[in-house]
């Protein structure tokens, strides 16, 4: 049992413990969960400190991964088809390690914000811990089948968390979220099977689900469906391109990109605060991570061919998300759309396939992880107090909640890209990557970078406008005096959460090398692999 397995299964054990604890102790469940996640944070900090980003660049060689575990898991004899060999194969490199830290921190905050949950605590914390297990698994898995299992395993707890503890239209939001993601992932399964039949383990000669083997063109069986040389076609489309598109769509639904984003606002609005935090803070990142780890690495040729489209989708997401955010009345919905906009930068950075762009995309995901967590937590604070989130229900909050207003100003300025905060570095790097792409590899035209920067302008517009409407001016509240007495300023637990998130955002903004140093080698290795074709 190494560190990664411990990281993955510790929450599961905590969840089972919660399940067997008697109902009488239900006020203590949250401490069990908090303890498990706290240990996770310490472990991931330990992993971070001991992570050697330069010697172990990862990507396509097992020897370059750290904390590798490989155990045979499912082994079925299939006669003519050979044997079905699925490994329990874990490992981390510069692409996945930052997300482990991010996930454990966001989870910790999600548990802290679960104090508001009052009903059916046993089920709630058990599901939250199951979700935690699945998330950690996704970031560690190097066997595609294992990855898929964890990826799907995330769906169910989220479905129940939204459906059982959500708002008025929770049933609709939950099934919409579920079907959207499932739609992407079942087709992903077909590509996984196709890849399985195309790839051979160079040592044993069996078919394999090992992602690292799938990244090496030499392992493809000549004439197989996804072999680059065979140039097979499915339904008249080159097979490799189709495989790339299917995988991309599966992850893009998670990101989410613009035509496939409609589940996100509904899910966010209906979900309870902790679930919103997890959705925005971690789940969206799984989409970006999947595109980097799987789409780009396994189908580099198709990735280069479709880079222009990826960039375009990124730009459209940035602008469309921002414009939508401008038009929202519901604070939570606005932040949900701002997530769409900010994740567009991730896609733009990835599409550039330059070192700056991909590093920027990675940092943007991490920074957005912290900042969106902070924003949703802040929304949760007022929603908990008065059960309303409509922007026009509030006015002049700064007078009655000064500390809260400080934090929300920090969060807003950080996410609109004020220098000194992480989002600035991240967005700047993504845009630099997109801008230099034309001269470096000619994949993205310059106007995409320019359009992307308009997105920053728009985000400044909606955030500052909201700030002005809700917090400044004379205090006028929808609920009158009743609300005024309920809207107490942030308490100690909330200050702790918000301060720590602020520290993370500032730290990454002032010392981005904290993240860049760890992932730089992996990013360069990924670019080398993609350009190798």
């Amino acid at each position: 049992m190494s560190l990664l397995s411990l990281l993955i299964f510790l929450p599961l054990a905590a969840g089972l413990l919660i399940l067997v604890l008697p109902y009488a102790w239900q006020q203590r469940y949250k401490y069990v969960a908090l303890a498990a996640v706290g240990i996770q944070v310490i472990m991931s900090a330990f992993i971070y400190l001991n992570f050697d980003g330069n010697a172990f660049s990862g990507i396509d060689a097992k020897s370059k991964y750290q904390l590798v575990e490989q155990v045979s898991w499912i082994n079925l004899q299939l006669g003519r088809l050979g044997s079905l060999q699925i490994d329990y194969f874990l490992g981390i490199d510069g692409l996945s390690m930052p997300f482990l830290v991010l996930s454990s921190v966001v989870m910790f905050i999600a548990v802290l914000s679960s104090w508001e949950i009052k009903t059916n605590l046993k089920g709630y914390f058990a599901l939250l811990m199951l979700l935690n297990t699945a998330i950690m698994g996704v970031f560690c898995a190097l066997d595609f089948f294992l990855f898929y299992i964890f990826y799907e395993l995330m769906l169910l707890p989220l479905y129940f968390l939204i459906g059982m503890w959500g708002g008025a239209r929770r049933e609709y939001a939950a099934i919409k979220f579920f079907l959207y993601t499932l739609f992407g992932s079942v087709f992903m399964l077909l590509v996984i099977i196709g890849l399985y039949f195309s790839v051979q383990d160079p040592i044993t000669g069996n078919h394999t689900f090992n992602m690292l083997h799938m990244m090496n063109p030499d392992n493809y069986i000549p004439g197989s469906i996804f072999s680059a040389l065979a140039e097979q076609q499915i339904f008249g489309i080159p097979a490799r391109l189709l495989g790339f598109i299917v995988l991309f769509i599966a992850f893009a639904i998670k990101v989410p990109i613009v035509p496939l984003h409609t589940w996100l606002p509904d899910a966010h609005v209906e979900a309870p605060t902790p679930v919103s935090i997890i959705l925005a803070g971690i789940l969206l990142k799984i989409g970006g991570y999947g595109i980097l780890r799987i789409c780009m690495s396994i189908f580099p040729d198709a990735a280069i061919d479709s880079a222009w489209w990826l960039g375009l989708i990124g730009v459209v997401s940035i602008i469309y998300g921002a414009l939508n955010a401008l038009a929202q009345n519901d604070l939570k919905r606005m932040i949900a759309y701002s997530s769409v906009s900010h994740m567009g930068f991730v896609l733009l950075g990835i599409a550039s396939i330059t070192a700056e762009g991909i590093s920027g995309a990675m940092l943007q995901m991490i920074s957005h992880g912290f900042l969106s967590t902070m924003l949703f937590f802040l929304v949760g604070v007022i929603y908990n107090r008065v059960h309303s989130r409509y922007i026009h229900d509030f006015r002049g909050l700064a007078l009655i909640m000064p500390k809260y207003t400080t934090f929300i100003m920090i969060a807003f300025f950080a996410s609109l890209g004020l220098p000194g905060f992480s989002a600035f570095i991240a967005e700047a790097f993504s845009l630099i990557g997109a801008f230099t792409s034309e001269s470096v590899n000619g994949l993205l035209p310059r106007w995409m970078a320019i359009c992307g920067s308009i997105g920053i302008l728009l985000s400044a517009a909606y955030l500052l406008w909201t700030l002005q409407r809700m917090f400044f001016g004379k205090t006028r509240l929808m609920g009158g005096e009743d609300w005024k007495s309920k809207l107490t300023d942030v308490n100690g637990r909330e200050i702790f959460v918000l301060t720590s998130l602020t520290v993370f955002a500032l730290l990454l903004g002032i010392l981005p090398s904290l993240a860049f140093d760890k992932m730089n080698a992996s990013v360069l290795e990924l670019i080398r692999l993609v350009n190798l074709k």
Binding site: R80, L153, L155, F160, F183
Partner: protein, 462 residues
């Protein structure tokens, strides 16, 4: 062979117990007898897997038969555990019901181990005749009477097709023996046209029994009209048995490449129709039992994938899928019986708020629905995965994409029950779940998860 003898003697023993009014002993004796039969089944387990056929080629009790017989016996065991106090409510002739179920099981074991088409026919007849009767045991219930009559007429009709098919196969090849038929196909330069007609008619006959579209029209009414316990038996054990028969005939006798070119397109059409009709109609159902009936049609469609991608891996694929489907369905039917008995109606609204009042029942039913829908880490996912893997390995890409779309539709309607149980609140009392039911629910749920997480331990059985 000893398994067949044991179970039929057990049936007669139960009949006598009924005669001597030993009503209390019926269920325990039956269950113990089934355990003995299960033990005898595993006795035939042969690691080298080179069992010879017995009784001048009538039966071949190899690992394939052991696996499917064991599955049939175990699922019958689980279903009979649900039968405590069930038949008593219908009429006083409880012993006869057990007897007939056991006779049906005998037929099923013959079907799983036949090596001669005459045995196939007799096995299917024993099974069907018993089922006609079991469907109609609620004599005062019009739905049950209608179901029995419908099932009898349709069943007799389909048996006619099967018999005609067998006759034509015999007419062309000159033998009922599976190996002889294969030799005929391999040795003759030109296969007689009546052989093809024979294949077609056998497919029709078997599809009738399995309930594949477009020969499915009897299933919804029969499944709904029959007593729920019998429906559970029909839609799980019987379906599995018919597929074992299907697979054995096609794998041993009809697997040559020229023949595959003939029947694979037919089965592709049948599979796609079953998926489409089963799933689309299931979406519109308001009653749990009817939804299960329609969804069982779609499962036949998935099972047909193993035949379309016929290879030596097909048997373990069918076995895994059938096991997953059977276990999950037993949970679903057990839950249905509890709800039906205490609420009187099985529309989805009657499941509202069950998650709060009956956590165990709701949890197990949820897991069974997830397994039927094919969500990872349940047995159903592994089954579907094997089916899709097989179909893709033979380049049936379009069919697989179609099946995947259907699987999404499936998720939608399977989750309706889950939605009702957890997301909708209703004023309701806690349902009493008898201990026997709890055992079945827990055991089946554990099996579903264990197969889902570590499928190796049952897939290697064949």
């Amino acid at each position: 062979m000893d398994v067949i003898i044991t179970i039929s003697l057990l049936a007669i023993l139960v009949l006598y117990l009924g005669l001597f009014k030993a009503a209390k002993a019926l269920l325990p004796v039956t269950l113990v007898g089934l355990l003995v039969a299960l033990g005898l089944t595993f006795n035939h387990w042969d690691l080298a897997n080179n069992t010879k056929s017995i009784f001048s080629g009538m039966l071949l009790f190899n690992n394939f038969s052991v696996a499917f017989s064991a599955l049939a016996i175990i699922s019958t065991f689980l279903i009979l555990m649900l039968s405590k106090d069930y038949f008593e409510r219908i009429s006083a002739n409880v012993a006869e019901y057990y007897t007939i179920i056991l006779f049906a099981l005998t037929g099923i074991i013959i079907i799983a181990s036949y090596h001669n088409l005459s045995m196939l026919f007799i096995g299917i007849e024993i099974m069907s005749v018993s089922l006609y009767i079991l469907t109609g045991i609620k004599k005062r219930d019009y739905a049950s009477n209608e179901a029995a009559l419908k099932y009898f007429l349709m069943g007799a009709f389909s048996t006619g097709f099967l018999l005609f098919g067998i006759t034509l196969l015999y007419g062309a090849s000159g033998s009922f023996d599976l190996t002889e038929i294969r030799n005929y196909v391999a040795s003759s330069e030109e296969i007689s046209p009546i052989f093809y007609a024979g294949i077609l008619l056998s497919i029709i006959g078997l599809c009738f029994k399995a309930g594949a579209a477009p020969f499915h029209f009897w299933t919804p009414d029969v499944y709904e009209g029959a007593p729920t316990l019998i429906t559970a038996f029909m839609s799980t054990v019987v379906k599995t048995a018919v597929f074992a028969a299907f697979l054995r005939l096609f794998y041993i006798s009809l697997s040559s490449v020229t023949l595959q070119e003939f029947w694979v397109p037919v089965l592709v059409v049948l599979a796609s129709l079953s998926l489409l009709i089963g799933n689309i109609t299931a979406v519109y159902q308001q009653h749990f039992k009817r939804m299960l009936a329609y969804s069982s049609i779609s499962h036949v469609g998935y099972l047909l994938f193993a035949l379309i991608a016929l290879s030596s891996a097909s048997d373990s694929a069918v076995f895994l899928y059938a096991a997953a489907y059977t276990i999950a369905s037993i949970i679903a039917f057990a839950a249905l019986m509890v709800v039906q008995k205490q609420v009187g109606n099985d529309s989805f609204d009657n499941f509202n708020g069950l998650g709060r009042k009956n956590p165990l029942l709701a949890l197990t039913l949820t897991i069974s629905m997830l397994s039927l829908a094919g969500i990872p880490l349940t047995a159903g996912f592994i089954g579907k995965f094997m089916m899709f893997t097989g179909a893709l390995s033979t380049y049936h890409t379009a069919l697989t994409v179609f099946a995947v779309l259907n699987a999404i539709v499936g998720v939608f309607y399977y989750l309706r029950v889950v939605v009702a149980m957890y997301f909708k609140d209703a004023e309701r009392n806690e349902l009493a779940v008898p201990v026997y039911f709890k055992i079945v629910l827990v055991v089946s749920t554990l099996a579903t998860i264990i197969i889902g997480v570590y499928p190796g331990f049952i897939a290697d059985l064949i």
